[in-house]
Symmetry: C2
Subunit: 424 residues, 2 copies
């Protein structure tokens, strides 16, 4: 009795934890799940090849720049102001000219905390709830969810092997104009599109720019995979080709150097960039990362990127071979000209959202098509496989394990690769 | 004629630059002005003492952590997941226990890109337009502008030498309740308040927590100056004293190590932190800065901070002496127990917004009181002076120059220090 009373008293006096639920803003995403480490076979996320992080050169860059300028860390924005570390912007002026044909000054570049902050900032100056934008029908999930969270209407433009279909852009713009709707922008990843891997042809770029001018709709060009092209050949950026400054361009060092560094950039004319800078209220992006990157890139970027791309190409080939071996004709895909992902079509009866769940339970992470598309019907049997962070061995094992899950759940591929070989 | 025609043709064919104006979202802040470097006498911003950036130790930390773990930069979030680099969170578990009395686990800490991102994230899960919050009447400008931009109603609570006045909190909560309004939070910088420099007494902390519990209003505790206290003595954090987990706590390394690094943190129970993590869609904060900080702090934080504080105290004394010398009794202030700023009252006829403009023209940057307060009448003749980034010599010269401007504009101080001395 006494014990019971004690326990009761303890329970009565234990304070009730505060309930935040009634105070939460409306429309929040669900609570995050606890992170439990990476799955055994990880084919998601823009992670890169750990063996290709230029650790020694980053370390040397860190040492030299800290020795020379470390004391400037005492000042927000170093001695460069709110646009970001000036030597990094100056490196970008040269890089953008050489690689993308862009002519700009260091004062038309804003360094951001990854290109994701770039997305947020551009959206921040242009979008209000109820607005309309055009995007590629298959598209980076982070761009789609950002638009959804802002209650923006999304018109998806289908792609073919040359990227966004310009006839579809023309129809969509005409339809919207007939309804009195002026879209806020046309968002495109024209150079190694995510997830399809396509490169918008130069001719289509010209046509897209003309449409954008005709309809008074700016282009939002996301170029963050453009450095990783096997043959190093790419058309000029839309930003470079525009005659009317109707393009806002964003890019990143996540794919070309290291994603964990969180350094991206926005290129825009000052009349736009000054509006963007005004809503970048973070007191600057991380200075140490900008300093180390600037120091590294000035000396090594041009050598590092082709080497990185060669290594990624080897992994892509391993992935394509493993898919052919394990899935046979059940897995359809184009050999992409660059990037870190492969967009795969499975037979129509495969629902990749269900495959994703079953694979997750088996320690395999994939991106289901519907999360990377605004056309659920088109993407239902498609999936995105990232190949940069796994080893060739993991790619082979992971694809075999995925085929096993897919066979169990959907009956395709019909037989395992080994059985087929044994029969053949 | 021919020349004119040519020019006319060229003008006609020059494409009109795209006009973004009609596409901009409503309610944007004005365009940013071009950055033109720092003023000669810079008494604004949370900049720190360049001579006290521990460059060599940061460099050693960078070298050891990159050598050991540099390859993990290939992965978003390193191998630590979305809450941030685990060794840094583990350092914070010990630091928060020792310095602030907070008991928490590494999974109740989210690393942010500066405490400004912490402000945005906490606001993001709690605030909608039309909501009401309580804040200290004199308050960090970045917190005030964030609330204004979200169309949130702000109720200012006056402060005295022991910080926020709890009687005023009680009245405000009762008034709001009578109107059927439940505020979303009580925001406070209880430990070295910005700009007043006050420390909320332990007794008041208990009273504030009780009021918060009684009214069902959580406390948002911003502790980002709390490391810089001359005698190292501080009351426990509100987070530590709460029995009901009704406090969200944020902090920063900006003031204790280096502001340009952009590393802060949020401490909250997981049921709150999981909502916050869900809206942190930036793919992680900068990894290199987290790694270098964790490595540096584990070895040197406890030695570095008191040394930094001693240096800041010397600058504060120089500032107070210069004010006494140049302004005499016209400048009133309390000797703050820590921090990097002094909150100064000038005679009632001085409008510090006008003083700010005149000083700016003379190469002197100050924070006018009305930008750091929600009570324009109370703050009109007050100003904030940051003393961390200027040298003692610059402080002396800058205060003399400011007194000169103030005398010219407002007739106070009556005579220059030299003249007074000559007479005396």
């Amino acid at each position: 009795m006494q014990n019971n009373n004690k326990r009761e008293n303890a329970m009565m006096s234990a304070p009730t934890p505060f309930d935040y639920t009634p105070l939460l803003a409306e429309g929040l995403p669900p609570a995050a799940a606890r992170w439990n480490g990476f799955p055994k076979y990880n084919f998601v996320g823009g992670n890169n090849d750990a063996d290709q992080v230029p650790v020694e050169k980053l370390l040397a860059a860190s040492t030299s720049v800290l020795t020379r300028e470390g004391a400037t860390l005492a000042t927000y924005g170093l001695n460069s102001g709110p646009l970001g570390y000036r030597p990094l912007r100056e490196f970008l002026v040269g890089k953008l000219k050489r690689d993308a044909g862009i002519t700009c000054t260091a004062d038309e570049i804003l360094i951001t905390s990854g290109s994701l902050q770039g997305l947020d900032l551009v959206n921040g100056i242009l979008l209000s709830p109820g607005d309309t934008v055009l995007i590629e029908q298959e598209c980076y999930q982070g761009s789609i969810t950002r638009l959804t969270r802002r209650d923006v209407n999304v018109v998806g433009i289908p792609l073919d092997k040359d990227g966004m279909r310009i006839d579809a852009v023309a129809s969509a713009l005409a339809d919207l104009k007939a309804k009195g709707i002026r879209p806020k922008y046309i968002y495109t990843i024209p150079t190694v599109q995510n997830p399809t891997g396509t490169i918008l042809s130069e001719q289509r770029r010209g046509e897209l720019l003309k449409l954008a001018d005709d309809y008074g709709v700016p282009i939002f060009e996301d170029d963050c995979y453009a450095d990783l092209i096997w043959n190093g050949q790419r058309p000029p950026a839309l930003y470079a080709m525009s005659k009317t400054a109707n393009v806002i361009h964003i890019g990143s060092f996540s794919k070309s150097v290291a994603p964990a560094l969180r350094v991206g950039y926005i290129v825009a004319p000052w009349n736009v960039l000054s509006r963007i800078q005004a809503i970048k209220t973070d007191a600057g992006s991380g200075a140490l990362e900008q300093m180390v990157l600037a120091e590294f890139c000035a000396a090594h970027f041009n050598d590092h990127v082709p080497k990185l791309a060669r290594g990624l190409r080897i992994k892509l080939e391993a992935l394509m071979e493993a898919l052919a071996e394990q899935f046979g004709t059940a897995a359809e895909f184009d050999d992409p000209p660059g990037g870190i992902f492969l967009w795969v079509k499975l037979p129509d009866n495969v629902d990749t959202m269900k495959l994703y769940q079953a694979a997750q339970a088996a320690g395999i992470a994939i991106n289901p098509g519907t999360e990377w598309s605004v056309n659920a019907r088109h993407s239902k049997s498609r999936l995105r496989l990232c190949f940069a962070s796994s080893s060739v061995q993991e790619i082979r094992e992971g694809v075999a394990a995925l085929a096993e899950v897919c066979r169990r759940e959907f009956g395709v591929p019909l037989r395992s690769a080994n059985m087929e070989r044994a029969k053949g």
